[in-house]
């Protein structure tokens, strides 16, 4: 007989699961080397039950977050009875539910008194994963093998023993040595999770754990269902747009979602979405489903625990062969970055029925990566332009957008490089990184402001990779709120030549002294700008985030209201 549910112990379990995944996350932050991991925190840590159901996660970068449980279930079925204490499994394969090639996961089955009781897992964006282009963003790829080494579930440790041959096979196909160290850090974090969970089992026993786990799923499902029940029943449709597949100039693709709210469940159906591209601008099922879930989570009570119960009322249909779920063996590296247009489609669909929960459009990602040799140190550097890519979020009813937060798939989880560390670690010199005046979409609640980034490139023969969007279509306004501005990246060479890279591009031989200029624009506004608080506007004009001209043009401020503010 299973023990009865102790409502108090239930809170204790919930708090402990969260503490464990948080602790795993700290372990990753402190021990990894790639700045993508330790500075930008592009990783997720989680605990799963024996069946692979999510117990709790720490989601630094949410777009990775909702592929871990599906892969955990896949791995469990894949190995079946052949799972043992001391096994450690690697996985990145996008055709067995991985979300992106570079996001390589470690799964560790957790045994208690000889029985498989749970899993700990960590997935992080690795600095290199083989394929044609160092770092992984190959805009010319059409097949997965041009992008990455595929890692279907593979044991690198079996019964506690390192499989040296397997380990060497994997890392013989990866360029950078730090990836080995960062995968060790992922394994270390899984071990931390394993130890803590076993301590919990020692204290309360397996039967109690199982009973309370189920009760926690049920309580969470109820919370989620209650939130969904607040949405008026019906069927709602929306679209989001993707510009340029990296290979065909002028190409444009449409994401179409039909959302059906019925009772306490919600269904997202992407069947009418455009077909996959013949480039790398394609999603995988789990990256696209993560985008859907993270957008929905921003519309519900943020205190809902993240476990199996949270996802149970959500159904997601994405037919294979669409741009959101490419068929084998298509290239998919850009897939995580289809989150912004996917989120746009959802916000547009639900806006009319949840005007108090949706946001206007968020600034879309446009990112660059520079590599070269620092002439003073004679050392190679790689820099991902985190500071430049972070635009503003969309406004919502009652709340302005968040300035310089970055794309919706990170929602403020990815941080700028520190300016002085940037100048230590690259030969570049920062000229400007400031909020951009008038970049936010006007509205009764304005969008978040974007940023302008200017730096002088300090290495000869510099290579620049761009990937992203937002240079054709701005973040949209809602309910009378205005659109924001467009993204761009522009290079001014010392000889006077100007180069504007495409939004997915590879530019080589950029000379020293070139000025790099980027704008990540703002988020869309919400509601009639004429209704914006006048005192707030006067302050914003004084602070120079809204110009006098824009205040008069977009917000209808009079000279008199603006008064002496200069």
């Amino acid at each position: 007989m299973s023990p009865s549910v102790d409502p108090i112990l239930l809170s204790v379990y919930a708090r402990n699961f969260k503490a464990i995944t948080d602790e795993m996350s700290i372990s990753m932050e402190q021990t990894t080397r790639s700045p993508i991991l330790c500075e930008a925190k592009d990783y997720v840590t989680g605990l799963y039950d024996a069946q692979g159901k999510m117990l709790e996660q720490t989601e630094n970068l949410p777009i990775l977050a909702f592929s871990l449980a599906p892969v955990c279930k896949y791995i469990k079925d894949y190995f079946g009875e052949d799972l043992h204490p001391g096994d450690v499994i690697f996985h990145n394969d996008v055709f067995s539910l991985g979300n992106q090639n570079n996001d390589v996961a470690v799964y560790k089955p957790i045994f208690y008194r000889g029985e498989l009781v749970a899993w700990s897992a960590v997935k992080g964006h690795q600095a290199d994963i083989g394929g044609n282009v160092r770092g992984g963003y190959n805009p010319n790829a059409v097949e997965v093998w041009q992008e990455a080494l595929r890692i279907p579930p593979v044991k690198v440790y079996e019964k506690g023993k390192l499989r040296k041959d397997v380990w060497n096979l994997i890392f013989a196909n990866i360029r950078l040595d730090i990836v080995q160290h960062d995968m060790k850090a992922e394994m270390g974090a899984c071990t931390v999770g394993e130890r803590r969970l076993i301590e919990l089992l020692e204290k309360y026993g397996l039967a109690s754990f199982e009973t309370h786990k189920q009760a926690l799923f049920d309580a969470t499902r109820k919370m989620m269902e209650a939130e969904i029940a607040k949405i008026p029943q019906g069927r709602y449709s929306g679209e989001g747009y993707v510009y340029y597949d990296g290979r065909h100039e002028g190409s444009k693709f449409t994401i179409r979602v039909d959302i059906e709210v019925k009772g306490q469940s919600i269904k997202f159906d992407y069947s009418r979405t455009d077909a996959q591209t013949n480039g790398f601008v394609n999603g995988t099922f789990t990256s696209s489903a993560s985008a859907t879930i993270l957008t929905l989570l921003q519309m519900v009570n943020p205190d809902i625990p993240h476990n199996e119960g949270m996802v149970q009322p959500i159904e997601i249909i994405i037919p294979e062969g669409t741009i959101l779920n490419a068929a084998y063996p298509k290239a998919t590296t850009f897939g995580n970055h289809l989150c912004p247009p996917n989120a746009d489609a959802i916000q547009r669909a639900l806006g009319p029925v949840m005007p108090d929960r949706v946001t206007a459009g968020w600034n879309n990602l446009l990112c660059s990566l520079t590599t070269g040799t620092d002439p003073q140190k004679n050392e190679q550097y790689v820099d991902i332009g985190f500071m430049g890519l972070k635009g503003g979020s969309g406004a919502m009813l009652g709340t302005d957008g968040y300035d310089h937060i970055g794309m919706i798939d990170a929602s403020g989880g990815v941080l700028d490089q520190d300016y002085e560390m940037f100048e230590q670690q690259t030969p570049h010199r920062l000229i400007k990184h400031e909020l951009l005046t008038d970049s936010a979409g006007a509205g009764q609640w304005r969008g978040g402001l974007g940023v302008e980034t200017i730096f002088e490139i300090g290495s000869e023969d510099t290579q620049l990779v761009t990937f992203g969007d937002g240079d054709f279509e701005p973040a949209f306004g809602l309910f009378g709120g205005k659109d924001a501005g467009l993204n761009f990246i522009r290079l001014s060479y010392p000889d006077g030549q100007t180069v504007v890279p495409k939004n997915k591009d590879l530019i080589t031989a950029v000379p020293k002294g070139t000025v790099y200029h980027q704008v990540a624009s703002g988020g869309g506004g919400y509601g009639d700008p004429k209704k914006r608080d006048r005192r707030l506007l006067a302050e914003e004009v004084k602070n120079g985030v809204i110009s006098r001209e824009a205040a008069m043009r977009d917000y209808g401020m009079s000279e008199a209201e603006l008064g002496g503010t200069v």
């Binding site: 309580a219 929602s411 941080l415 010199r429 920062l430």
Partner: protein
């Protein structure tokens, strides 16, 4: 005879601890006066003077005080409530928004209603000035003094009270900052000025500009408060030494505190961890976990030989990169409110009823159930002996609040609901202790646990059960631990310089020069504070990392190791600390090590209160039993009658078995079924897990 007083201003009470050489410390409390906290200081001193035998006039008593050590929350509160000075910032052209953008973080990723913090300096008072240094500190463009003048003219028009200066790469060359500072001093002689390289000449622009702006933001408030305090103390005839508690666990003169106000942001709780060590040392221990449970917050910290320090703290979401004690604060205290979330799960806090209206049982209008209400229902508090009987508690009101908000919706009895609140609160606090132990690489089971705060020892047994900690020490001064800790604090001055180099290629002569410069400045400050040569000492730390890592590890090195360029010894110390913190080192792989910062701390020794050993009084505690009452026993989830001991009547060597209650005027201690208790030679209540007499052998025999 040397009379010293530690004074800790809290939200509700201002705590006083008096020590006279080796006499027993005495404890006083006065009601805080938030409008001008120095009034409560004088009120308390008035009461203490009257309580002397024979009673003294305030003036006669004040004149007899040698030293006052003072902890204040003036700067903390100014930051938390955004009521600091009107401030301006001179910075490098192109980066004036770094302070506001905070590297683009949104702490709550799924919460679109979560807004950014209001910047410490409004944008129109942040001036980007032409003038640029490169990453090595070489001038690329000279500083535009005309632009500085124009900016200052704007600040004058706007009535700015405080100015900060922070330029790009100034850690490598302070010349531009100094030139701008000179102009500010000329044109705004009355403004409070912070120059980033005077306060924190280390790399990482955002951390430096945030720290500099915080210092300016709280500087004028602290100055104003110190004017009031010093004025009042002078008026009543105090002629001794006044010292201010700083966030790093040391004390400084009021003069230095005025300049570096940011050093006091953690002044209030910073006395705790050092005090914890004081109480465990007689037990042959050099480490402990110190916790302090107040009305709204619960603070936890670890000390090993000395309290743990961190160099990258935060206050109200603003970065502060000055060394401060690693004290973890969570929203859990006596006033924490119990509530049910949308899924029906019971939660405690972080919302607090505070002191006003306070818990329902205070009868001051509070209607929501709090931790204190649960403690009363569970029998841990005596309604007629709260604060020694000075405050009556309303049991019916406590039951009513718990019934309405927790018990009825959950379908539980009031007792079961109260027990649940107690257990959830203890679990929250245990997680807080995990933050400073397990998450920093320490095993909590190896540490004695010091439960401070009036209600701390009511919860400590269950917290220790969760963490499997076998030994607790509850000092007599536990309700005023921070004030006591202030009397133990030495003078401490921290200095830092950035020195980026591969360890094996470092120019050690140059590094030694930097260290000696910092040490000389420390000597000068200690001399100003009248610390004799013999009591001055110092320590050196390097911040290092493995090549290509992003985060540094700070560890102690000797001056000799630097002078001799002993790379092997320095590397060994680094590997060891990295291994302790993160569970591995790369010693065997010969991975290169990089130095980033060098730190010097100048320390001035003081005369701490000594230990005063009580004579043994036999093992029996029978005579101290003042009654029996039913309390909740968490191990069996039942209520049972247990003996209630008068703590004041317990003496050295007395032993008692759990379950039991011990009551003192300002503290209640719950000894659970799992623990027994013995009073040590210094009057502390030592709780040890049943059967673990080995931990307290020296107290038993």
């Amino acid at each position: 005879m040397s009379l010293k007083i530690g004074i800790d201003v809290g939200g509700t009470f201002t705590d006083f601890v008096l020590t006279r050489d080796h006499a027993e410390p005495s404890i006083f409390k006065s009601l805080s006066t938030p409008g001008d906290p120095s009034i409560a200081v004088v009120n308390g001193l008035t009461d203490i003077a009257a309580a002397q035998t024979p009673a003294l006039s305030l003036e006669a008593f004040a004149a007899s005080i040698d030293t006052i050590v003072h902890g204040t929350t003036v700067t903390t509160n100014a930051t938390l409530t955004h009521t600091g000075a009107k401030s301006a910032l001179l910075t490098t052209e192109g980066v004036r928004d770094a302070l506001e953008m905070r590297r683009g973080i949104r702490e709550e990723q799924y919460n679109n209603r979560y807004t950014n913090v209001k910047p410490l300096v409004p944008r129109h008072l942040r001036s980007g000035i032409k003038g640029r240094l490169d990453r090595a500190g070489r001038e690329l463009t000279p500083l535009d003094l005309e632009e500085v003048r124009e900016a200052i003219a704007l600040y004058q028009r706007e009535g700015v009270q405080a100015v900060s200066i922070c330029f790009m790469n100034s850690f490598a060359n302070p010349a531009h900052e100094q030139a701008a500072a000179k102009l500010v001093r000329q044109m705004m002689p009355d403004a409070y000025l912070t120059v980033s390289t005077d306060l924190l000449p280390s790399i990482r622009f955002y951390e430096r500009v945030s720290t500099t702006a915080l210092n300016s933001y709280v500087g004028p408030k602290l100055n104003h408060y110190l004017d009031q305090l010093v004025g009042r103390l002078k008026t009543i005839g105090f002629k001794g030494l006044l010292l201010i508690m700083q966030s790093n666990g040391g004390v400084i003169s009021p003069g230095l505190a005025r300049e570096k106000a940011g050093l006091t942001l953690l002044s209030g709780p910073a006395g705790g961890p050092g005090a914890g060590l004081f109480y465990v040392r007689p037990h042959g221990q050099n480490k402990c976990i110190t916790t302090d449970m107040g009305g709204t917050s619960f603070e936890a910290s670890v000390a090993v030989d000395a309290p743990m320090i961190k160099n990258d703290g935060e206050i109200a979401r603003h970065k502060i990169a000055l060394p401060m004690l690693d004290i973890h604060t969570i929203g859990a205290g006596g006033g924490s409110i119990g509530w049910l979330d949308d899924g029906g799960l019971l939660r405690m806090g972080p919302q607090s009823a505070g002191a006003d209206p306070g818990p329902a049982c205070y009868g001051k209008g509070g209607k929501l159930p709090t931790t204190t209400d649960a403690n009363l229902v569970l029998g841990y508090l005596d309604a007629s002996y709260f604060a020694g009987g000075k405050m009556k508690l309303d049991l019916a009101a406590a039951r009513e609040a718990i019934a309405t908000h927790i018990a009825q919706p959950m379908g539980l009895t009031v007792e079961a609901a109260a027990a649940g609140m107690y257990r959830v609160a203890c679990n929250n606090m245990a997680q807080g202790v995990r933050e400073v132990t397990i998450k920093r690489g320490f095993d909590p089971r190896e540490f004695p646990y010091i439960p401070a705060g009036g209600a701390g020892p009511i919860h400590s047994c269950l917290i220790c059960d969760e963490l499997e900690i076998p030994l607790q020490i509850a000092p007599r001064e536990s309700s005023v631990l921070c004030a006591f800790g202030m009397l133990l604090s030495e003078l401490k001055h921290d200095f830092v310089r950035t020195f980026v180099a591969r360890l094996e290629q470092a120019d050690f002569a140059h590094l030694l020069g930097m260290i000696d410069d910092m040490a000389r400045e420390g000597e000068r400050q200690l001399a100003e504070e009248r610390i004799p040569q013999a009591r001055r000492r110092g320590q050196i730390k390097l911040d290092c990392r493995y090549i290509k890592q992003y985060h540094e590890v700070s560890f102690l090195v000797s001056r000799e190791a630097i002078a001799q360029g002993d790379v092997t010894a320095i590397a060994r110390a680094f590997h060891a600390e990295h291994n302790r913190l993160y569970g591995y080192s790369l010693e065997s792989e010969n991975t290169p090590i990089e130095i980033i910062n060098v730190r010097v701390q100048a320390i001035g020794g003081i005369d701490p209160p000594g230990y005063r050993e009580e004579p043994r009084a036999g093992t029996s505690a029978e005579k101290a039993i003042k009654g029996r009452r039913a309390v909740y026993l968490p191990e069996t989830n039942t209520f049972a009658e247990v003996p209630v001991y008068d703590g004041h009547a317990l003496a050295h060597g007395n032993r008692l078995a759990g379950p039991a209650m011990i009551e003192e005027e300002t503290t209640a201690i719950f000894v659970s079924q799992g623990f027994d208790c013995v009073v040590d030679a210094y009057g502390s209540f030592v709780l040890y897990r049943k059967g673990r007499e080995d931990l307290v052998q020296h107290c038993l025999t």
